[in-house]
């Protein structure tokens, strides 16, 4: 079924939906009949912006007029305001086409009307408060507004006839679209006759004038012209149905009349105001203008249809082609084929091409389909599918050349070129695109989302169909993957309540089917399908809290090795899966795993992009429009999103649980940090001059981290768990309990790191009371710390005490450590300097320069190594040093050689680099000395 594109009112779209659904239920025969009927009545009008604006103006005018009738001044005022705003909106259209006469007439009439009411004192006093107020305002506004059109209004007053009927015709045209979508032609005709009568009674303006008719004709044909000129394409065959539709002769004559001077009197089509614009349909007459699909008298055969299809598809994608029209043509063709009993393959082919024409409706791949068109697509696909289900002997063969098709010969297998799978895949993609472009918080989104069920049904049917037809592995995998992708992100609530785990079994079955397929041809396509299926499988596991399954699958599949070579959508899916896996680990209390899994996504600050869930704003300036467009095309529809806030909070909580004890353990070492993001949050919080009670998510986190630093587990847990975002977490209560336990444990660890120095011994009982942990847990935790060398302590069994040992490094030892660090820095810098030297000079003397850093590095290393094992004897380290010096001489010689050859500019540079090199000598000497020292200290203490 086809709908007009003209009216976009929700009313209409819903009606179209219901219509779209209807044929599914019907038997195919009747279905086609209905299609023909519909496409017959309906003459689609592609409206330009001009028409749209004008019709808006007309609507406003109508509203005013209606309100005037019932003397509702406030309504009139409203209408006037809307008219004004529409007028200003359509400025540029009006500038091109001139002020519409109906508009002039309306404002002029309005002025007279207002004045009349104003004059009529008696009536005015009767008005209620709102109306009288509106009247005053209206009077002023109208006068002001009308100043701009003084000349026009004057002209109108002089010659009101010129301004006749304009609206009426326009309206009828407008409503035509609306009407056709709903009413049959017959109904429309009835209403027309009645309404025209009503009009005559109602409006006493003279209508017979030739002039006025001309005007009206021009006015309303203008909008038609654009479409009707395109309509010259053949649209309908000489079928019985076609002739049935012909009602008046004059309608048929109409195009002729238009081409000549249109002087002929024509029964006026009009609307009555009381009718609220359900007006005549003049659509039928346009049928006449179109050339028939086939020449009259042509015997319609398969070949003819084939030719026609070839002809039509050859204009596909051309600039001038009317895409909307193409769809209709194909539909008609289908109908004709059906009528002529040309056989199922031909019908199938026609339907197939209809789908293609629908895809062509969009000029570019990036733009999203109109909803109606998509629905139409789904319906067509459905029809095709029903047809195929009924006729298993017909096969679609992908990549078959047209000549080899077998549409009629029943002896051979009946084949049609094309692939229903491809159509389905594109329909699915278009659906995603459609959702992406909708406002995810609107009701429309939900409405569209309900279409997914239909789509899924189609997918399932195609799957069954392909299975019975023994499609290739590749095709089967593709259809399976589609099903998986519609399933994997959905939470199975029945399973959660202890149900049978329906979707798990389903997922397993689907994925295992894909895993089982051997990729014999090693095509990248199948690999990609498998990768995606695997990711979806893991995602599904993780979503349902099956951590070990998800993790095992992820680790055993070695997905992470190859993922960097995958295409971007797969990478996005991988990112999503990793995030879901991390969240799953978090829910199950594997904090370390959760942290490492989430760290990569969170530390980049680009989680939105990585998960394709919108673009982060602050980086907007860094990407150009083109990139932005591409990124937008990758976005995942809203209902599949992972809650980023929850993700961030979970991640930061993990980071806190790990980082706070770590910080306490390594107070004096600034360099090692587990999570930079977490530290950033802490630093940001420190910048605040005043710290109030926590409000935002991050404030909650910082506050609880601060509490944990003081080993105050209670405050920490309370603050952290107070945030309501945890409610979004599945099994929120379990997770909270888990977190509380973890906080206790980590607080204990923090406490031990921070304050163990203050104790000589401590009783586990005290700790148990402090941290609300059982004695056993305390024992386990502390023993673990002792084992990991984090705590220098031992248990004293008889007294049941923890005895702490003190073993702080002496100052000299820490100094020696620092020296070692510094030396590495110096070495790094020296290497960097020399490395730069090579890149710079390699132009001149590649061979020599390539060997420099190695040499030097080797020398440096050598002396280090020599210095270390026998570092005690000063002579040996000196030896290393000498050795180094010798090499430095070598280097100098080489340098000189090079200098002779190189130009002056480079030479100066080389000298410089050698200056630095001398320093390296100094450094080396030191290393000898330093090693002596460490050796010594380690012996003494």
């Amino acid at each position: 079924s086809t709908q007009s594109t003209g009216g976009d009112s929700s009313d209409e779209s819903s009606s179209s939906e219901s219509e779209a659904e209807m044929p599914v239920a019907r038997a195919p025969v009747r279905q086609y009949a209905s299609i023909l009927e519909e496409s017959d009545d309906e003459k689609r009008v592609v409206r330009s912006s001009k028409d749209k604006r004008f019709s808006e103006i007309n609507e406003a005018i109508k509203a005013i007029r209606n309100a005037k009738k019932i003397k509702d001044i406030s309504k009139v005022f409203e209408g006037f305001n809307s008219l004004c705003s529409t007028y200003t909106k359509s400025q540029n259209v009006i500038a091109k086409n001139g002020t519409p006469k109906a508009f002039i007439r309306c404002v002029a009439d309005l002025e007279t009307f207002v004045l009349a009411v104003w004059e009529d004192k008696e009536q005015r006093s009767k008005l209620n408060k709102i109306n009288s107020k509106a009247l005053g305002a209206l009077k002023q506004n109208v006068r002001k507004f009308n100043k701009a059109f003084e000349t026009d209004i004057e002209e109108y007053r002089k010659n009101p006839d010129n301004y006749e009927e304009v609206i009426e015709e326009d309206e009828s045209d407008n409503d035509d679209d609306l009407e056709t979508a709903k009413d049959s032609a017959k109904q429309a005709k009835k209403s027309r006759t009645s309404s025209s009568r009503a009009f005559d009674e109602d409006d006493d303006e003279a209508g017979g004038d030739g002039m006025s008719d001309d005007d009206s004709d021009d006015m309303w044909n203008e909008s038609d012209d654009s479409s009707s000129s395109d309509d010259e394409m053949p649209a309908i065959g000489y079928t019985a149905a076609y002739f049935l539709k012909k009602k008046d002769d004059d309608k048929k004559e109409r195009p002729e009349r238009k081409k000549k001077a249109p002087k002929q009197q024509q029964p006026r089509t009009s609307t009555s105001k009381e009718d609220e614009g359900w007006t005549t349909v003049s659509g039928v007459e346009k049928v006449a203008k179109e050339k028939p699909l086939f020449e009259e008298g042509t015997e319609i055969t398969v070949d003819v249809v084939n030719q026609k299809i070839a002809e039509l598809s050859s204009i596909r994608g051309r600039r001038g082609a009317n895409r909307k029209k193409n769809i209709e043509t194909f539909e008609l063709l289908t109908e004709t084929c059906y009528k002529e009993n040309l056989g199922i393959p031909v019908v199938a082919k026609c339907l197939y091409y209809t789908c293609l024409a629908i895809f062509d409706y969009n000029p570019s791949m990036s733009a999203c389909m109109v909803v109606d068109i998509w629905v139409q697509l789904l319906v067509t696909l459905d029809k095709l599918l029903t047809l195929l289900e009924g006729h298993r002997e017909v096969h679609f063969v992908e990549g078959l050349p047209d000549e080899e098709e077998n549409l009629e010969n029943p002896e051979k297998p009946l084949t049609v070129a094309g692939s229903i799978l491809v159509i389905m895949e594109r329909a699915d993609d278009e659906f995603t695109k459609l959702l992406r472009n909708l406002d995810p918080h609107g009701t429309e989104y939900v409405q569209r989302l309900s279409d997914e069920a239909k789509l899924c049904v189609v997918i399932l049917r195609i799957k069954a169909e392909l299975a019975t037809r023994k499609a290739s592995n590749n095709e089967m995998c593709r259809i399976y993957l589609r099903e998986i992708e519609h399933l994997y992100y959905k939470v199975d609530y029945s399973a959660e309540k202890g149900g049978t785990g329906n979707s798990k079994a389903k997922m397993d079955e689907l994925c295992k089917f894909i895993y089982r397929i051997e990729s014999s041809d090693h095509s990248g396509d199948l690999d990609r399908i498998r990768t995606r299926a695997m990711l979806c499988h893991i995602y599904h596991h993780a979503l349902h809290n099956r951590w070990s399954e998800a993790r095992d699958l992820m680790l055993m599949s070695h997905l992470q090795h190859g993922i960097s070579h995958a295409d971007i959508p797969t990478k996005i899916l991988h990112n999503r899966t990793m995030v879901q896996l991390g969240l799953c680990a978090f829910r199950n209390g594997y904090i370390q795993h959760a942290h490492t899994t989430l760290n990569e996504i969170q530390s980049s600050q680009k989680s939105k992009e990585l998960l394709a869930q919108g673009l982060s704003t602050q980086r907007m300036s860094e990407r150009n429009l083109e990139q932005e467009k591409i990124e937008k095309q990758r976005q995942i529809p809203f209902h599949m999103h992972i809650n980023l806030e929850l993700l961030e909070y979970s991640y930061l909580t993990c980071a806190m649980l790990l980082e706070v004890p770590h910080m306490a353990a390594h107070q004096f070492e600034q360099r090692r940090k587990l999570s930079r993001t977490f530290h950033q949050q802490l630093r940001n919080a420190e910048k605040n001059p005043l710290i109030g009670p926590p409000d935002s998510m991050r404030e909650h986190l910082v506050a609880s981290a601060k509490a944990m630093m003081k080993a105050d587990w209670k405050t920490c847990a309370d603050t952290l768990l107070a945030h309501k975002i945890w409610n979004l977490m599945p099994n929120a209560e379990d997770v909270k309990a888990m977190l509380k336990q973890k906080i206790k444990e980590e607080s204990l660890r923090t406490y031990m790191f921070t304050y163990s120095a203050c104790y000589d011994s401590i009783s586990p009982m005290v700790l148990s009371r402090m941290f609300d942990l059982s004695n056993k847990q305390i024992h386990a935790l502390i023993s673990k710390m002792i084992l990991n060398d984090e705590l220098k302590a031992s248990w004293d069994k008889p007294t049941d005490l923890l005895i702490l040992h003190r073993a702080e490094s002496s100052k000299l030892q820490s100094l020696a450590k620092q020296t070692a660090d510094k030396l590495t820095h110096v070495m790094d810098n020296t290497e960097k300097m020399l490395g730069q030297g090579t890149t710079f000079t390699s132009r001149g003397n590649a061979a020599a320069s390539l060997t420099w850093p190695n040499n030097i590095f080797g020398a440096g290393n050598g002396s280090l190594q020599m210095g270390f094992p026998i570092g005690m004897s000063g002579d040996s380290s000196r030896g290393g040093h000498r050795n180094y010096q010798d090499r430095s001489r070598n280097y100098q010689d080489r340098n000189r050689n090079y200098q002779d050859r190189s130009n002056a500019g480079n030479a100066g540079y080389n000298g410089r680099s050698r200056g630095g090199y001398n320093n390296a000598g100094g450094y080396n000497n030191n290393s000898g000395g330093y090693n002596n020292n460490t050796q010594y200290t380690s012996r003494v203490y």
Binding site: K822, F840, Y909, R912, G922, N925, G929, Y930, V940
Partner: protein, 331 residues
């Protein structure tokens, strides 16, 4: 009896080979330093050395010295100068050697080697060819090792410094100056009169030998390590500077090449079109060389680090020997 065993090869045979110091001078220096240290004033003590050059033996004999005030401010410098003149006059009148042959300076863990020291050495050398600087380490002396070391600027470094106060890398390379041969150490010999020797012999009988077995203190090592760390920091910073410089030079080079290339193409085009080509020689004006990094500071810090390392090595060496000794005693 402190002498430095390390013989540095001297370049020219004309210069002195050895410094002879009388014990009186040593006593005076020690006294001066000790006094200042006791007063907890600035441990940097300096004074003037007087003596004679024995041309035949190529020996510099230091026979007398007197202290100077710290010359931080202009005022104190003025006073010092007057004091020096006064002393010179007085000494001449009592017929003591009055020729200035250098200066002495105390040091704290070999930190003396800085810009000021270099300047002073240079000034004295300019006045007198064979001037030396004696470095006295009171801390080491306190540990029982008299430390007196005589230095002069090596002739290559002297010439360099004369020409250019801030060394550039090319100059260092061309003159083969490294951190090691920036200063030249001259062996110091203590020469005593016979009377003093007799006294020393008598004192030798009452020497306490147990003090040799004390282990080196860790505080000494700690301080040395800290200084070493400071030196490393300086070196590191210097390296960063050089890295930066290298980058800017590289950038300049590429910019220049690009400019020349562009200009050349432009000129080719203009010649083809029959126009007068643009001049090509303004390249060097357009692209200024980035200011080269002065090498002097890093030379000095490298020198300092070396001396720290030597010191630590020496200090620890004796300690390790003692440890082994103790170890064998124990077992």
């Amino acid at each position: 009896m402190a002498t430095n065993q390390q013989q540095q090869p001297t370049e020219d045979m004309d210069s002195i080979q050895c410094v002879e110091v009388t014990s009186q001078v040593i006593m005076k220096i020690t006294r001066n330093c000790q006094d200042e240290l006791d007063k907890q004033l600035d441990p940097h003590v300096s004074g003037v050395l007087l003596g004679l050059i024995n041309e035949n033996k190529r020996v510099l004999e230091v026979t007398h010295c007197f202290p100077l005030m710290n010359s931080d401010t202009d005022e104190s410098m003025e006073i010092n100068r007057e004091h020096m003149l006064e002393m010179e006059r007085s000494l001449r009148s009592v017929n003591i050697d009055y020729q200035q042959v250098g200066f002495y300076q105390s040091t704290y863990l070999n930190t003396h080697c800085d810009r000021n020291f270099l300047d002073s050495v240079f000034d004295y050398l300019e006045e007198m060819n064979e001037a030396i600087a004696i470095i006295y380490d009171p801390l080491k002396t306190k540990l029982g090792h008299l430390s007196l070391r005589a230095f002069k600027l090596s002739s290559a470094a002297f010439n360099l410094y004369k020409a250019e106060k801030d060394f550039t890398a090319e100059m260092l390379r061309d003159n083969l100056v490294t951190y090691e041969n920036l200063f030249q150490e001259i062996p110091v010999v203590v020469k005593n009169s016979s009377l003093t020797n007799v006294l020393l012999c008598e004192l030798g009988h009452v020497q306490d030998t147990t003090s040799y077995f004390t282990l080196p203190t860790s505080s000494y090592l700690e301080k040395s390590m800290q200084l070493l760390l400071g030196g490393l920091d300086e070196i590191n910073q210097d390296l960063l500077k050089i890295n930066k410089y290298q980058k800017s030079v590289y950038k300049k080079q590429t910019d220049m090449m690009k400019y020349i290339q562009d200009r050349k193409e432009e000129n080719d085009r203009m010649i083809r079109e029959g126009l007068k080509p643009l001049p090509e020689e303004d390249v060097n004006e357009l692209f200024k060389d980035p200011a080269p990094v002065g090498r002097l500071e890093s030379l000095l810090s490298a020198n300092r680090i070396t001396s720290h390392c030597d010191m630590i090595e020496e200090h620890v060496k004796s300690g390790i020997g003692k440890l082994y000794l103790a170890d064998s005693f124990m077992s």
